[in-house]
């Protein structure tokens, strides 16, 4: 019987992999992919709790809002990455040190 715990483990794996991408990748677009993984894992948790928990739809509604915010986030983040690329000719995050004192 597939229960809540199975989904929680899948979601934890997705979260950890997204964290790994955020921590280790140099490319800014790749870090964004990691953030998308993290948001997806949060959504999976919300939907799983909506299914197995109190039985109302609030979790799924919240997941819709998370998707909306992910879309907005990715648009703004890509704009920043493109501007960074135009300024420094690099997509790598560790070379974006203009603000370093």
């Amino acid at each position: 019987m597939i229960g809540l715990h199975h989904y929680l483990v899948v979601s934890a794996a997705l979260f950890s992999l997204g964290m790994l991408a955020v921590l280790t990748r140099r490319n800014a677009v790749n870090v964004l992919m990691g953030i998308e993984l993290i948001l997806n894992s949060a959504n999976l948790n919300l939907v799983a709790f909506s299914r197995f928990g109190s039985g109302n739809l609030q979790g799924q509604l919240f997941a819709v809002f998370v998707i909306v915010i992910a879309a907005a986030e990715v648009a703004v983040a890509l704009a920043i990455v493109l501007t960074l690329y135009r300024l420094r000719r690099t997509p790598n995050l560790d070379e974006a040190d203009i603000l370093r004192g």
Binding site: I2, L8, L14, T24, R26, L78
Partner: protein, 167 residues
């Protein structure tokens, strides 16, 4: 194993395996295409959880929108003759230790420590009508705020990438 369990394990394997490719493969194009399978696997898991509307939304917005945007980002931040779109990895082993420690911690706490209160649950049923009614009724204000947020974010993104005239 019941058919349901077989499908679940298949979807979970697709999701987690392609997420691992996203994180570990060197080529940015491989990363982006593996992300496609991760999103589809998550959409399949939503279907298994009885969230049909959310599965369709996931496919439309993540696969149709966000993934295409990310591919644009990959293409626009590399020189066109730079066919080998590779990305380097920094501090891989500390990151791996932190991420696997996080995973172990989450599994121990979420699965073994916490006794989740068993609710009545929700039998899989069509959700679109109910979600629409909730958006237009009880959650109207957050709904409008989200649409405003999208508008502001898209306008802001357009403003940020606009080429400024060199004074």
């Amino acid at each position: 194993m019941s058919p349901q369990a077989v499908v679940f394990y298949l979807l979970a394997a697709i999701t987690v395996g392609s997420a691992a490719v996203v994180v570990l493969a060197r080529s940015l194009i491989y990363n982006a295409f593996a992300l496609l399978f991760t999103f589809m696997g998550v959409a399949g898991l939503y279907v298994m959880l009885g969230a049909d509307f959310l599965a369709a939304t996931q496919l439309l917005i993540y696969v149709g929108g966000i993934l295409v945007l990310l591919l644009f980002g990959v293409m626009l931040t590399h020189k066109l003759y730079d066919l080998d779109l590779r990305t380097e990895v920094t501090q891989f082993w500390p990151g791996l230790i932190i991420a696997s420690g996080l995973f172990a911690f989450l599994v121990v706490v979420l699965v073994f420590r916490i006794q989740w209160a068993a609710g009545p649950g929700r039998a899989p049923a069509a959700t679109t009508r109910e979600i629409g009614a909730l958006f237009m009724g009880q959650y109207l204000l957050p709904f409008e705020a989200a649409s405003l947020l999208l508008l502001v974010a898209l306008m802001g993104a357009a403003m940020i990438v606009r080429r400024r005239k060199v004074a």
